[in-house]
Symmetry: C2
Subunit: 469 residues, 2 copies
């Protein structure tokens, strides 16, 4: 990944390696621009002499050789994508070569030598957007799709790429446009004292739009969490077995996701994937022993971590609990359960050190408690299930979730404008002034799908893509 | 890269990710086996409803969706390769998906779920060999091609993959077969006392074959060196500037290869690529100051390193040389120049500390001496040129070079057999006994291209391939 500003659209020929960096059986160099085929044929020689630029068909593979400095560089397959039936919407060519790092780079260099230019990050997708092959939200989803590391993140990205989110925004815009038309109509005839729709009706319409905007905006919390991994804080007093529990969960994870090699566990030490959801464990070892948890939350850093968490695992040593510590625990519990954005799960650890749950702890059974032995790895799967179930319950199925902070900002701004419109109605502000804020809301919604945009916004978005996409 | 034994050939459906591991714009999952298309179509749904298993054409791309658990996993391009027009010679399918690690693995898993089996390392190429799409030496060149990191290594691999080496072996075998026929003929009529070819003629023929075998065998030194990097030992007394010189060369290299990003400099610290040749610098810092270089060579370890080197850079501090040290140096020089497998280059360093070469050093000008200032990076390009020129002069252009130790062993064995044949003639051994050794030589040559082979040999060769090739 590199950052650079893509330039405004022109159809010069760009090229880049499109497959992941490194060595593999096959690699692909991608070319796009109106002279793609002509450029490729300057170094590609088909095996069959009957094939020429004029006879090459779109979406067909041709076997041949790439020449560099008069010698065969590689035996390759060439595919031509005739505009507009390509990813970018332009004429495009893909050359599939042997996946040696040397061959990949030499092939790219050869193509650059015969007239192509190295593509900027995301430039292929930028062209796809500029050619109307996809809107801006869909283009952003392409980057999310490529970066997705869990099933949940992948599902959001693929839905968004396939236009689910864009459709929702489009529906909202349509409603707002209708609303604006009604307003304009009222404005046109305002001097004639005709009231086409009374303000109560306007307010009803507005509330409907507002409700949807609020819903979308609020979905960002979950969307962002699913995309980046659900933050889970493991808290509790020292020596209750927090680290052992974390290790036990991580081991469990290895088994669960063993069919998907290469997950990112090594990169972010404490991120694991359970049933397609990525969980990001947050260390809160800073809790002091001598004071209660609420007091500990006063310690700024730990508080922040707990604040960021969506799920809190409160670990206790069940084998050493008495009535006092039990009361304290229940008190903590109550302080948490009313926070609608968090789930508080009690992890009663060290069940291996007791035979049954004593009477004074029975109350725990009414709470959401998982009894485990972290040391012996007993019931860790129940804890994993509990974590997953909470996320499943929070996830609105296939509903659209906002997971991009740019979209979130735009929705927030649109909602602010709608709130101003609402206040305008309440305060009997003249219709023409109200209409300005409606247009402002439309502008913000339009910025999500790219109906309104700027080179700077495009530069920011596509500069974060990888080269070759 | 993983190691495992490919099983003997059957045409069950195998699948693997073929592009390099990691994240990129595009990744490819490859499927091969007689049910490839049927298997792929269990999870792939073409966008156009008119396309079905019966109407899908070979070498044509189809846009569609892959479904997993009833949901769209990705939008992909599918290509069908109808047997025998595929890499493996079997029916094959390639699915090009978005290059997210999650998508790649999920797509592969989906294909495995609908009936394919995970391919062993090199199993696609093994099938290509077993189906007669390439011989064994060509198959081995595929692995070399993928692993090639320098232009020289790449050139050898591509020539071998395209059959250059196999052709040479085939010519040699043909000559040997002719030779064997003549022998058999003599054998058939031996009781009739007819001499079809006299033994001198046989010896002439044999010498011709032998000469070619020796040439090929000896080319292994250069072939291996070009494949793995040319070992260069930088030697010399302490404080003459060896490390500074190495740093200067490495910097120079950065500039020279800047158009090819991602070379392996970081992996093997002191390997650099100059004009397409990979040089592997060997550290010989162990030379002691107080003794002369020949004595130092007695130190086993340093001696080994110098022994392995093909090029020796003997660095001296030219600014502090007197007649004695000059005489010593010339003495060292003479001990090296007669070694035909090595080149000895004098590097007269620290020219920045003197105005001109004094009279008593003029003799250096007759030797192969490069005058440099490592500190100021002066004339480092001349040194680089000298290194490259030596390799160029050693390289027999586009001639076939043996670069595989299995081939080298086979050639050595074939040559041994031919030597036995020759001795047989000299000692008037009966023709039928001589013929056995001729057949033995044929066997060894045949093992190179795989005319004769075994599951064990195939397992060894293809087990070293990457999965997906």
């Amino acid at each position: 990944m590199e950052s650079s500003q893509p330039v405004s659209y022109n159809s010069d020929t760009i090229a880049a390696v499109a497959t992941p960096p490194g060595m593999g059986a096959i690699a692909i160099v991608r070319i796009s621009g109106k002279n793609s085929l002509e450029t490729a044929l300057k170094c590609f020689k088909p095996k069959s002499s009957e094939i020429s630029q004029n006879t090459i068909q779109s979406h067909h593979l041709y076997f041949g050789e790439v020449y560099s400095e008069g010698k065969v560089l590689d035996e390759v397959l060439l595919t031509y994508f005739k505009a507009p039936h390509s990813y970018t919407g332009e004429d495009a060519v893909e050359i599939s070569c042997h996946g040696s790092e040397y061959v990949q780079q030499a092939l790219l260099q050869t193509i650059l030598d015969v007239g192509a230019r190295m593509a900027s990050p995301g430039e292929f997708t930028l062209r796809a957007f500029l050619n109307g092959k996809m809107d801006l939200a869909q283009a952003e989803a392409v980057a999310d799709l490529i970066a997705s590391e869990s099933k949940a993140a992948h599902r959001m990205a693929i839905n968004q790429m396939r236009g689910g989110f864009s459709e929702k925004i489009s529906e909202l815009r349509e409603k707002l446009v209708n609303f604006a038309s009604l307003l304009e109509l009222e404005l046109d005839f305002s001097e004639e004292d005709v009231e086409f729709a009374n303000r109560e009706q306007f307010i009803l319409l507005l509330n409907e739009i507002k409700k949807e905007l609020v819903g979308l905006k609020e979905s960002f919390v979950m969307g962002n969490v699913l995309k980046k991994g659900i933050p889970v804080a493991i808290i509790g007093k020292p020596n209750v077995g927090k680290s052992t529990l974390l290790n036990a969960i991580l081991n469990e994870e290895k088994a669960i996701v063993s069919e998907i090699p290469g997950t990112t566990r090594d990169a972010i030490e404490d991120t694991i994937t359970l049933e397609g959801y990525s969980f990001r464990f947050v260390d809160t070892a800073g809790l002091r022993d001598s004071t209660d948890i609420v007091e500990n939350m006063g310690i700024e850093k730990t508080y922040d971590k707990i604040e960021q968490a969506r799920l809190i695992l409160y670990v206790c040593d069940i084998s050493s609990m008495n009535k006092t510590s039990m009361a304290e625990l229940l008190n903590d519990y109550k302080s948490y359960i009313n926070n609608k954005n968090k789930h508080f799960i009690l992890v009663a650890n060290k069940i291996d050190q007791m035979e049954e749950v004593p009477g004074h702890l029975k109350e725990l059974l009414d709470l959401e408690t998982v009894f485990v032995s972290a040391k012996r790895k007993e019931n860790i799967h129940l804890l994993a299930e509990t974590l997953v179930n909470h996320v499943k319950n929070d996830s609105p199925g296939d509903d659209v979730l906002v997971n991009n902070s740019r979209h979130y900002e735009a929705l927030r701004n649109a909602l602010d404008s709608i709130n101003v419109v609402e206040q305008g109605f309440e305060n009997n502000i003249p219709t023409d002034l109200v209409a300005i804020d409606v247009r402002q809301a439309l502008y913000y919604l339009g910025s999500i799908t790219g109906e309104v945009t700027s080179d700077e916004i495009l530069g920011n978005i596509f500069g974060k893509f990888c080269i070759g996409k």
